[in-house]
């Protein structure tokens, strides 16, 4: 077949005793968007790193345009026309967007001086198709999602024929993701083949032509997207039939249940204002909205991580007087941050030391830590959460994303909280662990723990929560529950001012 651009066959790769890839095949056609699906640890990243020349295979063959090639380094991959956009952002924060975009070109350039004006002009050209980013601004000043777009712009300058996008939308809002998909389709029409790694079924089925599934280092199957269903793909990924992707919802009458948390007129200057809501026993409350709507900020205000927020917070009827987050933790409010690696976990420390961090008093006496109790605490919580690890003395960095997240959740649960706030609880987590985390949240809610979930993934909000508060520009713009919890309704409330819309609708 002449339209096959990249062909991988019988590829194997081992790291020590772990067989990361076993006799894997993969085929990429010109102009297609080809999704790679699989749980974390299924071998997707290893395969992509081999194609990009970061890793060398133990055996097997890669051919490009029908000719066998050896890709010895990322630079060699670039010369062959292969570009990889990593999931994690790797930009220089203190130089401008334009300089970042043309880093490789500037590096390869022979001329002594840099033509900054030209650089900015060409950067503006590329960015005009991507989003509203000023090429002369510093990368440091951009939001995470804007930085992601800069990463993509950077790959586009390399004239690639094969573009690999590793979870490009993990940090993007729905709107930005839509823009990105339009860009992808345009690139595909120009004949560029795109490999698209994503955990989101909606994206795979919305944007991609074909999908290949990997499991435990082995190739499972490739389907035309038009001829398969999300359930089939999920089943192929986990190797078993997943009947119900989300746990059952709250059965009782949520308006009758006693209030656990009441928030009244919470405001923080410049961020959010007059936020009021009630969380009732047994329900999982969602916070929806676009990135930048200040959902995380509201939650940080409630927990007193933002110490400047004003307003009243009542926990089980009692007004909280906490001034600092440490005191909130004592009262029973805990927050799981969205950036697990950046500010959630102590990666080089042991699982046990991570779990105990919120309140060392629980595993110590007279200021002296009881190692036995600390280990026991971690292994007890680990068992409850189905944490997969060798032993609790292992460093957290040795765990997969899903298991790291379970450690972060175990850390919150260690203090027996009354209300937990989870910010993007399943970002970068594989499907299996995701299902488990959803189940854990429901179990906790049933046990009477108040749960507030922030998620940018609409299906997750709808699937997990009983009610969703939609935040827009620092205000609660509406509440949806039951059958009204649809992606359309949430997106509508997230992007359009409800009051104005109503006023507009009332006009004759």
């Amino acid at each position: 077949m002449s339209d096959v651009i990249l062909q991988v066959s019988h590829l194997s790769k081992a790291f020590g005793a772990i067989q990361a890839l076993r006799d894997v095949q993969f085929e990429l056609r010109r102009g297609e968007i080809h999704a790679l699906a699989g749980e974390n640890g299924a071998g997707k990243s290893t395969l992509m790193n081999i194609i990009d020349g970061i890793l060398q295979p133990d055996s097997g063959e890669i051919s490009l345009d029908g000719r066998p090639v050896r890709i010895s380094s990322p630079a060699a991959a670039q010369r062959l026309g292969i570009g990889l956009v990593h999931q994690e952002i790797a930009l220089c924060p203190d130089i401008t967007v334009a300089e970042n975009i043309f880093m490789a070109a500037t590096n390869a350039s022979r001329s002594l001086l840099v033509d900054y004006a030209g650089l900015h002009r060409r950067a503006a050209d590329i960015l005009s198709g991507l989003g509203d980013i000023d090429p002369s601004s510093l990368v440091r000043s951009l939001s995470i999602s804007q930085q992601q777009l800069v990463e993509i712009a950077k790959a586009l300058t390399l004239d690639c024929r094969v573009l690999i996008l590793d979870e490009p939308t993990a940090a993007l809002t729905e709107k930005e993701a839509t823009v990105l998909s339009a860009i992808m389709h345009r690139l595909a029409e120009q004949g560029i083949a795109i490999i698209y790694i994503s955990h989101r079924m909606a994206e795979i089925f919305g944007h991609c032509d074909r999908v290949s599934v990997f499991r435990d280092g082995q190739y499972v199957v490739t389907h035309n997207v038009a001829e398969t269903t999300p359930t089939d793909i999920v089943n192929a990924m986990v190797g078993r039939v997943v009947d119900n992707r989300y746990p059952a919802k709250f059965q009782g009458d949520s308006t009758a249940a006693p209030a656990i948390l009441e928030v009244e007129n919470l405001s923080s200057p410049g961020l959010f204002s007059e936020v009021s809501f009630t969380l009732r026993r047994g329900e999982i409350l969602g916070l929806g909205g676009l990135i930048g709507a200040c959902r995380s900020e509201i939650v940080k205000g409630i927990c007193r991580i933002d110490e400047t927020a004003t307003g009243t917070v009542r926990l089980q009827g009692e007004t909280l007087t906490a001034k600092r987050y440490q005191q909130s933790i004592r009262e029973g409010l805990v927050y799981l941050s969205e950036d697990r690696k950046g500010d959630g976990l102590f990666l080089d420390m042991s699982i046990a030391a991570n779990v105990s961090a919120l309140r060392l008093g629980l595993v110590s006496k007279g200021g002296i830590i009881d190692q036995r109790r600390e280990n026991l605490q971690a292994s007890d919580l680990g068992r409850r959460l189905n944490l997969k690890c060798g032993h609790v003395g292992q460093p957290v960095s040795a765990l997969s994303g899903g298991n790291q997240q379970k450690v972060a959740i175990a850390k919150m649960l260690s203090v027996n909280p009354k209300v937990i706030f989870l910010d993007e609880p399943t970002r970068g987590v594989d499907v299996g662990a995701k299902l488990e985390i959803h189940r854990i949240l429901r179990d906790l809610a049933n046990a009477g723990v108040g749960i507030v979930v922030i998620s940018s993934e609409l299906p997750e909000l709808i699937g997990v929560c009983d009610r969703v508060l939609v935040v827009r520009e620092g205000r609660i713009n509406g509440v949806v529950s039951g059958d009204a919890m649809t992606e359309q309704n949430i997106m509508y409330l997230a992007s359009i001012d409800a009051e104005q819309a109503r006023a507009g609708g009332a006009r004759p």
Partner: protein, 333 residues
């Protein structure tokens, strides 16, 4: 999907941070001990003076006081900081105590005031780091120069002879309990106390959390600025303590004492496993690092190697240790 949580391996892991990286740290410490023993073996063949009581005693005296500073530096490194001013601050403690003594203050009170003054310097550095938001490196570089300047200003650049120090004060630096020098007793007590605290107390566990991931520590309700402020202050306080002991040992106050000490101290901590990016390190390892450097210096001196070579060799050892560490930690990832 297998679920396997091995039961807590409590007995095996007394360390503050569990058996996983404790085991790796253990590996490094065993490696250091082996290297030190090998050096001992080689030197006892090469020089008849090496394995003598006098030489052992001199060597131990040489690293004991500096070892107290190493303790402070290691804790500061674990919290993510660094202090370049240790040498100058140690000298300043000598000078302050010496000047006060010469002006009629009794040596104990003078020492206490000197230690408090050094603590205040540490607190001031801590203020600039945590409240103003400057880097440890720059703040302590400034403190290093200022403290040295103060030493020279206070003494006119000449050492202060403190011949009238009472014998009970000199006993701290020069005396022995049985055959063991007091200096070494003090050193062992300080090391054991801080080693225990660092491994087992909640107070010092917060130092690890802060150094490992300051933001995550803040989100765990730990007041990270306070932790950094305190480790910075503690390091300078221990320098003050060391300075006073040096004064008792030498019977004088030397304004130029401790030039280059910061390199030795940081090298010892890093060879012993402290990471410059914070979050890891042990007192035991750092002390082994100190002993290693000290044995090397002593060996080179006995072998009549030029002092200029000594610095080159010390630097090379540091580079080798850090390189090995780098590869080990890469393999861990």
């Amino acid at each position: 999907m297998t679920t396997q949580i091995v039961e807590a391996q409590a007995g095996k892991a007394p360390g503050s941070t569990g058996s996983g990286w404790k085991r790796l740290a253990g590996m490094r410490e065993i490696g250091l001990i082996l290297i030190i023993l090998a050096l001992f073996a080689a030197m006892s063949f090469a020089s008849p003076y090496f394995l003598t009581w006098e030489n052992m005693r001199a060597m131990a005296m040489a690293f004991a006081v500096e070892g107290i500073v190493v303790v402070g530096m290691t804790i500061l490194l674990i919290s993510g900081g660094i202090d370049l001013s240790v040498g100058s601050v140690t000298a300043l403690a000598m000078v302050i105590a010496g000047l006060l003594f010469l002006n009629g203050v009794d040596p104990w009170t003078a020492s206490l005031i000197a230690i408090l003054a050094c603590t205040a310097i540490g607190a001031l550095m801590g203020f600039f780091v945590t409240k103003v938001g400057l880097h440890h490196f720059i703040v302590s570089l400034a403190a290093m120069v200022i403290a040295r300047g103060a030493c020279l200003l206070g003494t006119g650049g000449r050492p202060l002879g403190l011949f009238t120090l009472p014998p009970e004060f000199k006993f701290i630096g020069q005396g022995s309990i049985g055959v063991i020098p007091v200096v070494i007793v003090i050193f062992v007590v300080v090391v054991l106390a801080f080693d225990f605290m660092l491994r087992r107390t909640t107070m010092f566990r917060k130092v690890f959390y802060t150094g490992s991931n300051e933001k995550a520590a803040a989100y765990s309700g730990i007041r990270t600025k306070k932790v950094i402020f305190l480790t910075t202050t503690l390091c300078s306080a221990l320098c003050g303590f060391a300075g006073v002991i040096y004064m008792a040992r030498f019977g004088s106050a030397q304004p130029t004492f401790g030039v280059g000490m910061e390199l030795n101290v940081i090298a010892a901590a890093v060879i012993g496993g402290a990471s410059l990016s914070g979050g890891s390190g042990t007192i035991f390892g750092a002390i082994l690092g100190t002993i290693l450097l000290s044995v090397v210096s002593s060996s080179l001196a006995l072998l009549d190697v030029s002092v200029y070579w000594q610095d080159i060799i010390r630097g090379s050892i540091l580079l080798a240790a850090v390189t090995i560490d780098h590869y080990l930690s890469k393999r861990r990832r």
